[in-house]
Symmetry: C2
Amino acid sequence: MKSAVVSIQGVTGSFHHIAAERLFPGASCLERDSFDEVFEDVKSGRAGYGILAIENSIAGSLLYNYDRLARYAIPIVGETYLRIVHNLIAAKGTALSDIREVRSHPMALQQCQAFLKQYPFKLVEKEDTAGEVRKLSEKPENGVAAIASSRSAEIYGMEIIAPGIETDPHNYTRFLMISPHGAPSGASDNGLKSTIHFAFNDGPGTLVKVLNKFAALNINMSKIESRPRVGAPWQYEFFVDLQFDFGTALGKELFHLLREATLFCNLLGTYRSYGTFVP
Amino acid sequence: MKSAVVSIQGVTGSFHHIAAERLFPGASCLERDSFDEVFEDVKSGRAGYGILAIENSIAGSLLYNYDRLARYAIPIVGETYLRIVHNLIAAKGTALSDIREVRSHPMALQQCQAFLKQYPFKLVEKEDTAGEVRKLSEKPENGVAAIASSRSAEIYGMEIIAPGIETDPHNYTRFLMISPHGAPSGASDNGLKSTIHFAFNDGPGTLVKVLNKFAALNINMSKIESRPRVGAPWQYEFFVDLQFDFGTALGKELFHLLREATLFCNLLGTYRSYGTFVP
């Protein structure tokens, strides 16, 4: 996979970049400002793969990425999990007592509240985590720190002033890999997972009929997410993760039944897990 | 209800305020910057009622408000729906061709994209919709407009330059009313709705067992939302709306069964609808 081009949301050193480094060692990454650009990169062929966060174990789902998966219809070809460790990062030689201002993404600031409220820091919300480390490395500002990954400190030659400052250590992000080219090698062999997307012509009461089809086949549902159906107020679309392979004869039969029971049903991908990375 | 004190997120003229005016004519509103303050107002007794948006028919659920409903355990006592109409608003005498900059909440800017992209406006994201109309009325700026409700133009003596500029007219927001004092009068009599909150000790696969209990009793489920269980990665809590009254003997029996089938199950409220308001 040395020659893979991978599109990520965020800069080098971001959590998306760490996921990309682990999945595609030596790959070149396209740093993008938005998830839409990541999808466009893969759609146009500028990148062979895209990596996108889909859920954090504390903050919940990135709902707009579900909408994008449905809209772009680029297959999910893998998933991976990253333990999110936040660090207070500043220029080398900075002491904790020198810091008066801390910059990061609102989510990172929120996830480090218990640490941050011990100090009289001015907290400044920014678009990015690692991006702020890069900015501070390019244009040093006395007394200013960022919250980001340890990898970003390493890459930009900055110092970790306080490591692991996230309040809740049960902090993981799940990333999906999308590609029209199938999965790269290296996935773990703990069974296949599938994500399907469907809706009904009426309220969500019909949902139970579909879930019963999975239960009857002893298929484990690991996630269910609902999104509004645009143009049909109070009707919903569902995104469901199943520990199931739709490529088998049974899978094809089930998929046929799902299509009959729903307004539409699309398979967003059948894929393996690349495991959990802890920095 | 003339003496009611109602806590809302946003300023006078905001969509929350319009909902409050319709539900509590003549009430005094506490204008708050955050939903947490609304919940604190009701908890402390500073306000008898709180009103909070829970879902928009295009953008989806306000997930953090589900978390707050669970955390504060203040009962839901009613729901209402508001048709969201966005208007381009500026100082009296402003022509559309005078406008060079438009300020509003990112969601409002996004929902008016089709209109906005016809003009070379600079778009500026702000915290608020009606709040920007108020600011412009207090400190006029030539060539600057806001996107907000028609009510805000009326209240702050500003002019609607272009009415109804939202791209998709299927734009409704559902608001919940919370209170420890029960419901005010005036609800429509189209049956009671209940919201329950529950979780399991394992993945969402067990969900179907609970949904089957509703289906067996012919209870319609109008909404299902999942949120992460904090401290238990990839386990979920569910918020489910049912067209059902848990105050009946059958309701009490069902609730007992739900408690046995779940890790926990809480009733967030059984309440009536106050209908849909169209400005």
